[in-house]
Amino acid sequence: MTEYKPLYVGTVTKYVFVESPEMTPGDLAIRAYEISQGVMIKETCFGLQITGKEEDVNAVIGVLRELDPTHIFVKDRGFPPGDPRRCRANLGGARPGYYGHEFEISLIRNVSRGLDSLASRDPEKVPNPPSPESGVALDIRKLKKIIESMEG
């Protein structure tokens, strides 16, 4: 076993995703470069990765969020950008974790709609979110029809 010397110790990396009709990842990157004070910014097809001291990263993200609050989403990342253990340039194929982002980004416009409507929502109204209990089970007669159609 060889010695392991970590890179970027004491930093945090955060993903910034933008899924907006009014803003592209390129627009977001230009604004981020304008205000980046010592943080490392990597442009991606979905937004940015920002690496640096936690307070600096949070300050940049706080300003970026203001640009389009309901269409910009942020999450932590464990690895720094370009890490050979995760970067697809070294591995081939999509980066591990990409499929989860791809799936959630396909639904994120629904979350944006929810954030947009939150301010105007009646605070007394009890939320009725999609939950495992609210799922409609397959009707037995429909199942029988499917089986018969396959047998035929």
Partner: protein, 148 residues
């Protein structure tokens, strides 16, 4: 500011909403970051060392595969630390090898056995569900804040 465990622990939507509403999401990235920023012996790709399955013994028996115990050494401490949890039940992309699948079952079991409030959800498939989804998370976190 409460610590909220999220499942899937890599979820962008949950991580963002919990942080947006003023709480701390407990996600896999924090545990991974801690390991890959700690010097030691090289143990690629995630710096999971032979010590991790030993730590996982706290959450799973010795005959449980080391893959499950190693993963539990990441998630177990977060579940212990959590003051609440939000679970999305139809996250098919969280499916992986048998180690991932069994760990996912164990995570849900531990969350439900611990005495913390849990919000059970599915992903919003349309805009109406999106409105209810966000409102439910907002109300859950607000109640959490008021009960502290």
């Amino acid at each position: 500011m409460a610590k909220v465990f999220i499942y899937p622990a890599t979820s962008l939507i949950l991580s963002d909403l919990v942080a947006r509403f003023g709480h701390t999401p407990l996600s896999a990235a924090i545990q991974i970051r801690e390991r890959i920023q700690t010097p030691g012996l090289d143990s690629p790709p995630l710096q999971i060392t032979p010590e991790e399955p030993k730590k996982g013994l706290k959450y799973a028996a010795v005959e449980v595969p080391s893959g499950v115990r190693g993963r539990m050494s990441l998630y177990g401490p977060m579940i212990e630390e959590a003051e609440a949890a939000i679970i999305i039940n139809d996250a098919d992309y969280a499916f992986g090898c048998m180690g991932c699948a069994r760990t996912n079952e164990l995570i849900k079991f531990l969350v439900r056995s611990s005495d913390i409030p849990v919000l059970d959800l599915n992903y919003p498939k349309n805009e109406e569900e999106g409105e209810e989804f966000v409102a439910a998370i907002h109300a859950f976190l607000k109640r959490l804040e008021e009960s502290r």
